[in-house]
């Protein structure tokens, strides 16, 4: 029931929901339903750039080495905020995304995909690097790998995208609903039951948040 574009459309990044649109976000194994109250772009610029060698308080990333996953402070948000971000490395390194530090993003059973300098060759708008960050304490971590056999003293990553302010939607129950009926609706909403969501939330854009 997506109202706007597909969220991973292979084109320039665009809003996944407009102001006053609803979004249904899958996070912590449940669906949460929000209304977008504000959106603004996050243009590609120097404040949205991080140098992971410095962020890790080291002087270089070893040849074929790893900078263990680090919090990216520029991507920390507060409750009621959501980021919609694409990224790429500006130096010859590869980035692997973790959301909530322990959970890989872009993973399958056996693999954890990374974004490297050549990703933009086949995917010029970096659509395949799209991820979302929602709310306080749901920060992303970035692991950096050096595919070169020698140490590099710089590993910059550039982010850009959109920032949304969102408010939880409180379902309006009929006056004669019992507590049990309300609980059933709440559970169906958390389960992402399409018909219940259509009835109590309305049209919505279904959205994954962190890696799950």
């Amino acid at each position: 029931m997506s109202e706007v574009a597909n969220i991973y459309d292979n084109g320039p990044i665009s809003l996944i929901a407009r102001i006053k649109d609803n979004i249904s976000v899958y996070t912590t194994r449940k669906w949460f339903h929000y209304q977008v109250v504000y959106t603004e772009p996050w243009p590609r610029s120097s404040p949205l750039r991080i140098e992971m060698v410095a962020a890790a308080a080291v002087t270089f990333i070893a040849g074929n080495g790893i900078i263990a996953k680090q919090l990216v402070p520029i991507l920390q948000v507060t409750d009621g905020e959501m980021l919609h971000v694409r990224f790429e490395p500006l130096d010859d390194v590869e980035g692997a995304v973790y959301e909530q530090a322990g959970t890989g993003k872009f993973v399958s059973r056996n693999t954890h995909a990374r974004v490297d300098m050549a990703t933009c060759l086949r995917d010029p708008y970096l659509a395949t690097s799209t991820f979302f960050i929602m709310g306080y304490q749901r920060d992303m971590n970035l692991e950096v790998r050096n595919p070169n056999p020698v140490a590099l003293n710089q590993a910059r990553f550039q982010f850009s995208g959109f920032r949304y302010t969102i408010e939880p939607i409180t379902p309006q129950y009929p006056a004669n609903f019992t507590d049990k009926q309300k609980e059933d609706v709440r559970k169906a909403l958390a389960d992402g039951d399409k018909e219940t969501v259509a009835q109590y939330i309305g049209p919505t854009t279904w959205l994954p948040a962190e890696g799950r």
Binding site: F60, G63, L90, D91, D92, E94, D116, M117, A118, C120, L121, P147, N148, P149, V150, A151, L152, N153, Q154
Partner: protein, 139 residues
């Protein structure tokens, strides 16, 4: 430090500084190499890859010298790949992509004299010449 080349015959490769630095290129971090009067390594061929040299820049703080850029045979004999350059005293100079023959540096593991290691070296006639290179290479 490095950037993706999107046009031209090196499209899809990454332009980056030579991966060696320090005296004779002994340091395994990209940067400026200081010659020691004989061979200095400017770029070490990564395993399973090849590269092209796209820029060479140098500064000679000493007396008139010569610089010969090339690779090394598997008998450890320098193999010149580009015309020998005069490095004038107290002056900087360089070679641009147009002046550098687009030779692909790669490993040939055959025994000497038929094989070479594919790394980029400079044979300098004096020490303390500062050299920086840019290569085009896969990730």
């Amino acid at each position: 430090m490095s950037h993706l080349i999107t046009t031209g015959r090196y499209a899809g490769l990454i332009a980056k500084a030579g991966n060696r630095s320090g005296a004779a290129g002994a340091v395994l971090i990209p940067g400026v190499v200081i010659t020691i009067g004989v061979l200095s390594m400017l770029h070490q061929l990564p395993v399973g890859r090849s590269f092209y040299v796209t820029k060479i820049m140098w500064y000679n703080p000493g007396v008139l010298a010569t610089l010969t850029f090339g690779t090394l045979s598997n008998a450890a004999v320098p193999v010149p790949m580009f015309p020998t350059q005069m490095a004038l005293p107290g002056l900087a100079d360089g070679l641009s992509e147009e002046e550098l023959i687009g030779a692909e540096f790669m490993l040939n593991s055959q025994a000497a004299p038929n094989g070479w290691d594919g790394n980029l070296y400079v044979a300098a006639s004096i020490a303390l010449i500062q050299i920086s290179v840019e290569v085009a290479e896969k990730t």
